[in-house]
Symmetry: C2
Subunit: 296 residues, 2 copies
């Protein structure tokens, strides 16, 4: 199966699951559910849940067994997008070609919708549906690992430094800190979660962590590149918005060519860690390569 096919089938699989774990938008209070569903169904690629699944399958697990956890990471991703777009943070009006959450529902509901999606993510990570196949100790370990990845020593730390670096001259070390933490930590944690839940051995978890670290950073570098080179209608947001905001980016610091080479090297090194999994890691390899080829 090609990467495009694997990702497209994975997206459909996650899409059909995503609303099963969400109150319908007619449930009182209606506005918050409408707001959550608006953003969760805004058409993401579902890369993070697919990475949970691909890691689970690399260590011989079944995607059905860990489905609520895979959905949870998309909720986490969506909460960060809603809060990031707020006027006090990135102040974005457009996301995936649609008005951002606070533009539609107002700031108060957008803040609470983000909070609710994060809460609902933990609801899913401790969901009884996971306990048929996953030992409770592993479930606790994966959930705990996720909290570290998305807390102040991980994703939130990256967001903070990103905000505080706007309009400033940023050195290479700070830029790498921002990208590794803001984007890389969650991507790595998704891969680790799949492995932990499906009872990966120590060396398997280590290999997947290393792979995740490399492709997590590569993903964000490509994001920076696409912000300059992409077709606006495909990207779904303003091209050049990083530059406009004075954001630190890899192309700004290294130039487009160097940035692309760095991303390619990271993916190559990441894929090299997957050798022990033989064919079972083929989807992860394909996803790594896809990260370099994506156009939005």
């Amino acid at each position: 199966m090609s990467a495009a096919e694997y990702l497209s089938k994975g997206r459909d699989y996650i899409d059909s699951a995503i609303c099963n774990y969400m109150p319908e938008e007619t449930v009182y209070p209606v506005s918050i559910h409408k707001s959550m569903i608006y953003s969760i169904l805004a058409g993401g690629k579902r890369l993070r849940p697919i990475l949970v699944i691909a890691a689970t399958e690399a260590v011989g697990g079944n995607r059905e067994d860990i489905l609520p956890f895979a959905v949870a990471v998309e909720y986490i991703h969506t909460y960060t997008l809603i809060h990031d777009d707020l006027p006090a943070l990135d102040n974005d009006d457009l996301r995936r070609g649609k008005p951002t959450n606070h533009k539609v529902f107002g700031e108060a509901i957008a803040i609470l919708a983000g909070d609710a999606l994060l809460t609902q993510a933990f609801y899913l990570m401790t969901h009884s549906g996971l306990m048929n196949a996953v030992p409770p100790e592993r479930l606790l370990q994966a959930a705990h690992d996720m909290t570290v990845a998305i807390g102040t020593s991980g994703m939130i730390g990256g967001q903070v430094v990103d905000i505080e670096s706007e309009g400033k001259l940023v050195d290479a070390k700070t830029l790498e800190y921002i990208h590794v933490h803001k984007t890389g930590c969650l991507i790595k944690a998704c891969i680790r979660a799949g492995a932990i839940l499906s009872q990966a051995k120590t060396e398997e978890l280590e290999a997947l962590s290393n792979y995740g670290e490399q492709i997590g950073l590569a993903f964000q570098i490509v994001d920076d590149i696409l912000d300059i080179t992409a077709d606006e209608s495909l990207l779904g947001k303003d091209v050049g918005s990083d530059v406009d905001k004075g954001k630190a980016t890899y192309p700004a610091l290294y130039g487009l060519d160097e940035a692309r080479k760095k991303a390619e090297k990271l993916v190559e090194e990441g894929i090299a860690y997957l050798e022990i999994f033989k064919n079972r890691a083929e989807p992860l390899r394909e996803i790594g390569r896809f990260f370099l080829q994506r156009t939005f």
Copy 2:
């Protein structure tokens, strides 16, 4: 031990634990840790962690065994205060006699500090320190139960209806919805958590849930009353701020006397549920009575 003594000792116990589980404010990125610590150390009564402990002790458990979970609920409470105070929500400048988080650290950091405290709460709820004494299944159950209590069918639901009711004429049913959800659900969940973690029997958990439901609502009614009658220097925020914001309150709907009678009746009924615990529930009884007597 009197309620005042139990609460004061409980507060000291929680205060000394609270920073053990928090990165120091010198840890990079410094601003977010300073912001989190500012609000968590702003001098709360630590009622919610004390309720976790008191419920644990009512069913024969040890407070040391569940300490990270008790601290977690204070993080949750603090996150809600930071987000509630934001300009887009209640727009409060003062909390516990000090400038609110966003007044000191700016809105972006305040939003992220709230997110980080919620995340750190789940870090604590899945903390390995709990696993010495608490079976992992119970830990997952307590954490899951908490997510329901603080999600859109619980606390966030209450916040949403509260915001959407501002300046409107609110009927008794809506007012009760707001109070039960915005405040009551977390209080009830704290009591349930202590019970679940310490392996309460079904009838014990049910009795404590009923107690929690009654005193949770009573707590918020007294809060409404104090907003009118309290000494501003003790309350730490503007007296009359509910009225100024056009908030729905029990005294506004029923009058001060009726509101007080309702709170007294709820506490009395709540305490009646505790009979099966005999002396072990004495702190919970005292806390219920204290809820009526508190002056801030």
